[in-house]
């Protein structure tokens, strides 16, 4: 059940907002194929009756919706690469 061609890597790279060198592209195609082939053993198990376990313990109740002071905006923005006037500055989004 070969799956991971360089074209698959290209698609997944785009979905993951990564950009890879040609060398990485070839290396990851080979390694992902190896890892997925090895994970093939899972296909032999019958999971039809098994409810997918997304987390060991889900929160049993939601917290009260009490408004409270969050973190200070300016301090939070200090960790960003290019904050300005309480906003994140980015390159142009449309028409670049």
């Amino acid at each position: 059940m070969a799956r991971v061609t360089p074209a698959t890597v290209d698609l997944v790279t785009r979905l993951a907002s990564l950009s890879l060198t040609e060398e990485e592209r070839r290396l990851f195609a080979r390694q992902l194929e190896e890892i997925l082939t090895w994970a093939e053993s899972l296909q032999a198990l019958d999971v039809a009756q098994a409810e997918p376990l997304t987390a060991p313990s889900a929160p049993r109740e939601l917290r009260e919706d009490n408004p409270r002071q969050g973190l200070d905006r300016d301090r939070v923005l200090q960790g960003a690469p290019d904050p300005q006037d309480g906003l994140f500055r980015v390159p142009r989004v449309i028409g670049g």
Partner: protein
């Protein structure tokens, strides 16, 4: 004052409480040791000496004024660098967080400091905790204090090496698939992954949110219990934090383990464990029997599938969690990007190392249209089967024992070219994460001159039995007193 660095956290606290030694003296002794040893170990990414000394002096003044000594008074701690300490950079071992300063402190760290512990610094780790050797750190190599040519394990390798080399008595790590227990085993110390939901993850950088858990590393079970008692308990700032009380894990350490049933999944353990590591494991079981426990067989038939399920679930969750590092809100930005699409791609390309990219790609693949059912959903189904195995198993035993790792520490560079081999180093540790169970690694002797660990895994939220058994094991053995040969300053 070098003898102070030989003391565990409990002994330091009692000397501080008795005013035999000041917090400042304790902190200075450990800072001196870090200065002497860390250049050859590489455990720390940052040391916060001034902050530590200031806090130590403040605590000394309070104690002089007659204030009672809190549970961890004067105990130096190190933090894995994915836990926030306000005002100090959090790097996660990654270039992508370059320049990022966390605006708040993690709850687990807050609780340690409230109990009188003193943070000395941040420790090296695999990038975003993705690795089993600390070699994927973007910054430096951490060496195993038992053999400088070998890995300390990972991903909490800096924390484990710092504790083993007596630079701190205790440290915090995080464990998504074994990242506390595996380095603890390879460095000859104790490491606990608490039950999922036991310790708040507020202020822990997320890797795989259904698996991540914060926990302690120390040289004795007593210190692990002391730190756990301080950090466990519900936190309204973490919605996955369980609403269960925080037990006094120190008070129950002396309980007898007479009649305690320890289950061994024999078929699973028989395969692929290095000969001497297996011998140490069998001897550890006999030591537990001598202390009164009963060793029984337990069937956990889906255990061999845990590692494959783990690497699909963990990478899927990581691909989602790490989407936030896009050059806009945190740390690094590729400044020359012409538009936002390129900004994301170029920032992530420069900021992430190869292992992180590999896992993001694998996880994105497992979640993508056409593959979601066959990989991600199936892995979650297998996870459910695995938990059923444990639920059945715990009807006939109280704890499950395996070696922590299949072999002792491997050489630096030995597995970096073969990700699959690196993943298989986690074969015994990932089941506890998938099922949300507490698990403890204890030093159980040397294989080829290198430490190996005994792993005990308990029922959800039954850390008491787990640590009680670990304490009984340490009363009956002296493996935890072995000192790495390479830690004397020279």
């Amino acid at each position: 004052m070098s003898a102070l660095t030989e003391l565990g956290g409990a002994a330091i606290r009692s000397r501080v409480a008795a005013r035999e030694v000041s917090c400042e003296e304790v902190v200075r002794a450990h800072l001196d040791r870090i200065a002497a040893l860390d250049p050859r170990t590489g455990a720390f990414l940052a040391v916060v000496a001034d902050r530590a000394l200031a806090r130590a002096r403040r605590l000394d003044v309070a104690l002089s004024a007659g204030r009672p000594a809190p549970a961890l008074a004067g105990v130096p701690v190190a933090l894995k660098d994915n836990l926030h300490l306000e005002g100090s950079p959090t790097t996660c071992g990654s270039r992508i967080l370059e320049g990022y300063l966390p605006p708040y402190t993690a709850t687990a760290v807050d609780r340690l400091e409230a109990a009188g512990a003193i943070v000395l610094g941040k420790t090296n780790m695999d990038e975003f905790a993705m690795g089993s050797s600390t070699e994927t750190s973007a910054f430096q190599t951490t060496r195993n204090p038992w053999d400088r040519e070998r890995v300390p394990g990972g991903s909490s390798g800096g924390s484990a090496a710092a504790v083993a080399a007596r630079m701190v008595p205790v440290a915090l790590g995080s464990d998504t698939g074994g990242s506390i227990r595996q380095p603890a085993a390879l460095c000859g110390i104790v490491g606990l992954k608490p039950s999922y939901g036991r310790v708040s993850r507020y202020g822990l950088v997320a890797f795989a949110s259904s698996l991540d858990q914060v926990g302690p590393l120390a040289r004795t079970v007593e210190d692990v219990a002391l730190v756990s008692s301080a950090i466990c308990g519900h936190d309204p700032l973490d919605s996955t934090s369980a609403r269960v009380g925080a037990p006094d894990l120190v008070a129950t350490l002396d309980r007898s383990i007479e009649g305690l049933r320890i289950g061994v999944p024999r078929d699973f353990v028989a395969q692929g464990v290095e000969r001497e590591t297996l011998a140490r494991f069998e001897e550890a079981l006999r030591a537990l029997e001598s202390a009164g426990a009963r060793v029984v067989d337990v069937a956990l038939p889906r255990l061999p599938h845990a590692i494959a399920a783990y690497y699909l679930v963990a990478t899927a969750e990581a691909s989602s969690n790490l989407a936030r590092y896009d050059g806009v809100r945190f740390g690094l930005r590729a400044d020359d990007a012409r538009d936002t699409r390129r900004l994301y791609g170029q920032t992530r390309d420069r900021g992430f190392g190869a292992e992180v990219k590999r896992r993001i790609l694998l996880g994105t693949f497992a979640l993508s249209a056409g593959y979601y059912d066959a990989y991600y959903l199936r892995a979650q189904g297998v996870r459910s089967l695995l938990r059923q195995d444990f639920e059945r198993g715990f009807r006939t035993c109280d704890l499950v024992a395996t070696p922590t790792t299949p072999a002792p520490a491997f050489r630096l560079g030995e597995k970096t070219g073969d990700p699959l081999q690196m993943y298989l180093a986690d074969i015994f540790t990932v089941p506890a994460n998938l099922a949300g169970l507490p698990a403890l690694s204890l030093p159980c002797g040397l294989a080829g001159g290198l430490p190996v660990g005994l792993q005990l895994c308990g029922r959800p939220f039954d850390e008491e039995t787990l640590l009680g058994c670990g304490s009984a094991f340490q009363r009956a053995t002296s493996f935890h007193a072995l000192v790495p040969p390479a830690v004397s300053p020279s």
